[in-house]
Symmetry: C2
Subunit: 399 residues, 2 copies
């Protein structure tokens, strides 16, 4: 980092400004860049030339149709980012470029009793395969985002308890993956990444404050505040699953009673249907049966919705987000669950907070987390990464 406040830093800032503008828009003409960045046309001209020489940007000579505008876009091989998501039952990997385009994506089942080493190895293999499939050079990987289904200590990078499996507790996924892939790896938990994914590609587009509620074997929320994931000082923000709804309710795995989770999470809800619907029911199955009209499943899902709605109402009173996106298997139930949620929110939240709230199902389904991991990699990368020589050849900043 050069001395701040100097002209060279200004120049660098302007370079980044242009890169960011192009990245966000996909492709722009120079005149458009000038308008969106507020720089003069002359400056843009110089900067574009410099970026072109460096290879971070591509100029397609004559754009389709227009007068004679040359459209500027990030060069396809300027860099790629990778998203990896460890789920309870599967592993998902996505490869994207800097223009927010997903180039390749694949998922495979992950053995529940696989060791953590095995899991990381599998992830590495899948990543390598996908990179090869896209035909991009490995050295172009600018960053990796990693999702884990459990609380992670951001300071030390250690996976906490209540994670996937006992064997994974205490491991440091980011370090493990970094060791295998040789690039910076950024981790976060599944709910936060889901939130990010839905915000960038899904139901949260255009909103700056959003809560993503993921209902699966547990209940968690990812909070996006002012466009950024909010983790809280201790890194445990968003634990909506353990707010108390009923002080004398069922005992929760966290030790309290009547947590939202005990009314909404799969592990507590499925047993309700065991006597009537058999023992090997999954949440997915319940949702399917409900859609087909099964009254018991409908009733259960509506009840779950009402309870989630109570939790969301509290969230709403405290944080007043403009949008709540429902993720996880349950989202597939659509209005069957959203209706009761909205009803509960309307009843329990203060009107001024509830009025401008929209509750939507996630648009990405099970992909939300991987895509969120991709988005994390993109956002953590910083635009400056593109400018440093690091990606292509490791040359010192000044000769």
């Amino acid at each position: 980092m050069e001395t701040p406040g100097s002209q060279s830093s200004l120049h660098r800032a302007n370079l980044e400004r242009v890169v960011r503008a192009v990245r966000l828009a996909g492709s722009l003409t120079q005149a458009e860049i000038a308008r969106t960045t507020g720089l003069s046309a002359a400056t843009v001209s110089n900067i574009v030339r410099e970026l072109k020489d460096r290879g971070t940007v591509e100029v397609t000579p004559t754009s389709a149709g227009g007068r004679r505008a040359r459209s500027v876009s990030l060069s396809g091989d300027a860099g790629i980012v990778i998203g990896v998501d460890f789920g309870h039952t599967h592993l998902r990997v996505a490869v994207g470029n800097l223009a927010h385009q997903v180039l390749a994506e694949e998922s495979e089942p992950l053995d529940v009793d696989a060791s953590s080493t095995q899991g990381f190895d599998r992830a590495e293999q899948l990543v390598s395969r996908l990179i090869e499939a896209t035909g991009v050079d490995r050295t172009k990987v600018a960053g990796v985002g990693l999702g884990v289904p459990g609380p992670i200590d951001l300071e030390s990078g250690t996976l906490g308890s209540s994670a996937i499996l006992p064997g994974w507790i205490g491991t440091r996924p980011a370090e493990e993956m970094k060791g295998r892939l040789g690039v910076a790896v950024h981790v976060d938990n599944d709910a936060n990444l889901g939130a990010l994914g839905e915000m960038v590609w899904g139901s949260g587009r255009g909103v700056r404050d959003l809560a993503y509620i993921k209902v699966a074997s547990g209940v968690g929320a990812g909070l996006v505040i002012d466009g950024k994931i909010y983790r809280g000082p201790g890194g445990t923000a968003g634990e909506i699953g353990h707010i108390t709804l009923d002080e004398s309710g069922p005992v929760c795995r966290c030790g309290n009673r009547g947590c939202l989770e005990t009314f909404a999470a799969a592990r507590y809800v499925l047993p309700l249907l065991q006597s009537s619907h058999g023992t090997d029911l999954t949440m997915e199955g319940v949702v399917r049966l409900a859609r087909e009209g099964d009254p018991g499943c409908r009733r259960v899902i509506a009840d779950v919705g009402r309870h989630i709605g109570s939790g969301v109402a509290n969230l709403c009173n405290l944080l007043n987000p403009s949008r709540v996106v429902l993720g996880g298997d349950l989202a597939e139930a659509g209005e069957l669950v959203l209706g009761p949620i909205r009803e509960s929110v309307g009843r329990y939240a203060i009107p001024s907070a509830a009025r401008q709230l929209s509750v939507l199902p996630g648009a990405l389904g099970g992909r939300a987390e991987v895509l969120g991991a991709l988005a994390l990699a993109l956002s953590e990368m910083g635009d400056s990464t593109l400018l440093d020589g690091t990606l292509t050849v490791a040359t010192p900043a000044f000769t």
Copy 2:
């Protein structure tokens, strides 16, 4: 605002950098400025001369003791800021300078049935008196922060319902005061300002994420996230008073049942003691009696604490702040209320979120809101205000 990314903006940024460095440190020599800002000595020399010419900075010719360093400090009359706080029963005004020092402060009772116009007039008079008392020129007022005890629509600046008195609903306090004082006025509600005040001067110093819980005639929370007040997209974040604790509890003024407010706010709690302790009891009185040992009052306060603790536990699970500061009359009860709060939090919040939480009483008492208003004025002002001609003579930015 000039075009961003230009050299002139760079110069401006450097000016601000220097002003900020000086403001934070109180006074610095030029060499020290150069070191802390990273600018070169030559640049600092130029900038200091420019600032001196403008009058925003003072250079005391020979500093005490040193080699021959001239110490640079914000000129005492570079500007002052004003905080105004309308409470339910009183009006409070504080005058401070840019170095975060409070120069004068005064409060006076405000008639409960005073009209809003009367209130604004009184505020104007008190402000004028205090400015005169400090002996600073009126034209040096750089900004005003204004606190109102009710929800305010940030878009329109209109006071919402459930405000102080019916007569104030629909007024636009910021505009009113701006008309009277002729300076930019920034408004916010009392809880948010209390949070800001405690963060800058009180129990929240050094923390970037904090929740300030104000228990008075209602219950509200001010949330500071990453050093800034968080208001939420709709401006109604922090309504902790209306999260539901008991679905079949007492009916609340908001229309729901069992809101935290119905267990903790003065208007619901005081009636409990009417039969035993008489009818003209205030919250202050209850706290005093409790401290003196009155068992009924102690019990009531402990119960209130337990309920607040439940609310804080929810807040904690969702937001995981590193500190909760209790304000309002109730804070005077000290451990009598903090103990039960902590106990409740420990019981209902998930351990990892509760572990690093500290629950403290506010250090500023009734002054928290005015000082917060002062802080709001300071923070909204931005260092750039000092640079514009606005403060001294209204000259256009460029000749």
